[in-house]
Symmetry: C2
Subunit: 430 residues, 2 copies
Amino acid sequence: MEGCKSKMSKCIKDWSREDLLALKNKLELEYNEFVGKNLALNMARGKPSGGLLDHNTPVLDKFSPFAADGTDARNYGVLEGLPEMRSFFGEVLGMDPERIIIGGNSSLNLMYDSFVRLMLFGTGGHPAWGSFPKRKFLCPSPGYDRHFAITQEFGFEMITVPMTVDGPDMDVVEKLVAEDENIKGIWCVPLYSNPQGICYSDETVERLGKMKTAAPDFKIFWDNAYGVHHLYGETKLADIFEACEKGGNPDRAYYFFSTSKITFPGAGVAMIAASLTERKEILKRMTIQTIGSDKLNQLRTLRVLKDAATLKQHMAELADILRPKFDIVLETLDTELAEAGFARWNSPKGGYFVSLDTMDGCAKAALALASAAGVTMTGAGATFPYKKDPADSNIRIAPTYPTDDELRVAMKLFCVCVKLATVRKLCGEI
Amino acid sequence: MEGCKSKMSKCIKDWSREDLLALKNKLELEYNEFVGKNLALNMARGKPSGGLLDHNTPVLDKFSPFAADGTDARNYGVLEGLPEMRSFFGEVLGMDPERIIIGGNSSLNLMYDSFVRLMLFGTGGHPAWGSFPKRKFLCPSPGYDRHFAITQEFGFEMITVPMTVDGPDMDVVEKLVAEDENIKGIWCVPLYSNPQGICYSDETVERLGKMKTAAPDFKIFWDNAYGVHHLYGETKLADIFEACEKGGNPDRAYYFFSTSKITFPGAGVAMIAASLTERKEILKRMTIQTIGSDKLNQLRTLRVLKDAATLKQHMAELADILRPKFDIVLETLDTELAEAGFARWNSPKGGYFVSLDTMDGCAKAALALASAAGVTMTGAGATFPYKKDPADSNIRIAPTYPTDDELRVAMKLFCVCVKLATVRKLCGEI
């Protein structure tokens, strides 16, 4: 995180009112110029750009519909997914393919369905989560708004856990889960977390696996969405299954992954992995839900991604498209906001987002300005449970969708908006 | 339904013990000949054959990923499905596309998810179905085993309703639903029902729409799986939405359809349709569950099926592949079983199955014989709730998967098994 960078210039907080008003007038002029451009840019979601998608067009080619074992992928069956798809994910993520079940195009849907199973049926012989009227869930924040939406939908009280540079604050987590059997689980995006790009340290993973929980059926929802999305060289992630086994809690983790941000968001292949015991329970329920997911799309995806080595090369090529976008964001922030300490932000080494903190009470105002000038960003507060950022300061920047040129314009406007909102705040106008 | 056909020959029930024993010996020889062939044929599920699938290979061709409105189908979004996919289904099924939401590759999954929503959240401001400990569901039988499996999974008491040539026995249905608010819905396969191939009459549809139900949130699960699977000319189906509206129950029906048995079972496109009010509620829940289903597969499917006229031609070509299979089944049954009244069966005008009733208490034994000789059929009882056929007589014949030659052998063996089981039963051996 960067703060007031320069020792030479004065932090904006310490400026005189006169200087602030002068700056405000200047910024209002700049802002109005952007408004005059009639922009319509969307940076709200982590959507890949057309360029990223074009890179994957071979996935659309015609191909033979037969799997390696002769299975006709056009027909019904193979509930757990094709063996070669499970082997591929196993190799890429360093896990036993026997842990893996292949889903449809959405790992989010697999997470939702896991909540459904736990709510209605429970697991491991424990009561259904739905039978706990005071059920709670740990939500390291800032975090992913769609995780929080699922938690809220199923009636959980969401408990915000602060993030550190090593992942969720484990002192807080351990204390909470040890005391309250109503706390049923925790959301984790362990590599290049959404939105901060934080990577969980080995110690964090180890502690998550071994911590004592009052709930015997405590679950870690391990959403490794950006597990292969390295922008500046590889970051290693400790093995959550191994940590849980060593900690004496072999059934604790559900591991989610997909190719949504590797091939196509709309037509990727998703998976859930678990202990062999948990996997068996999941399959027992899934066999009532569906006859099987789209095996043709599994083959189609595999014909392009092939194996871990090919995937690595594929991701390096995607990173070459993504990295300049991150560079534009970080350079603009550095140029526009660093010196006077308008905001703090992270410099992620991978993933899909840059997380920025304005001065307290300025995020909503800054985003409203951006929106009024035609640039849609993720809504203020979205990275916190109940969409309520207590400090009104966190903003998620999603640079993946716009073209580089659009992004330059959008980021310049965004910085004007952050500065203008800050100055207005300091002038007592908001 | 055919019974003892010939007035000339004696019905098997009236044969002398001596004649029965002689026939038994002859059949045992015939059966053992089949056993010696080491067959391994699967007629258990309504899976299409390779020939049916080959007919659809253009669905696998490369194509442009852009929808008619310019949407990039590779990316996130469009929760309700592409407009052209909804228009296509609307045209084919004669309904307003605004009622339709596109799902993934499985309409069964959409039915399961609908149960989940109703169990956990309820609809229309009514209490969640999960809050009714004595919840019940009407199961017209024989019916589809996977429907019954869902009903059982969610803890419903399944109430068997007899079928007539016009659909479920509506006198029974109307009486049950009027009295008991715990009865929350009914399963319907209205055209070429699974397994009997029965088509609901206009009067049945009208009565389903207008009947008085004690449960204000009673739901018709309208699984029109074989809605375009005409084998011998088109059968018309009355409009369930219109019937519900006219009956004063506009929100009563959930309509399910898919291309699973039009293109590929493993990679089709499924849909759910409902009243605009219900659809809004469904979307409100779905937006938490997923960002959207596979739009590329929607485009891929549409590039082949195009419109209602093209689909009609497509289905006529599929019928040319399917019809000979049904002819083999019906001719073999007629030759082998009709004269002496070993069984009764229907002659469906479409769909995927032939339903056969043995003499009471013979179905399990006949299928065990077939299985021991290498022919897997749908398990005895599978067409009834709890897999319990009270008469032990119904057998579902699924002729779609084997090649014509395999089917001829399998059907001859099957008839031997039915006859042998019947004779053994009449001899008091089972």
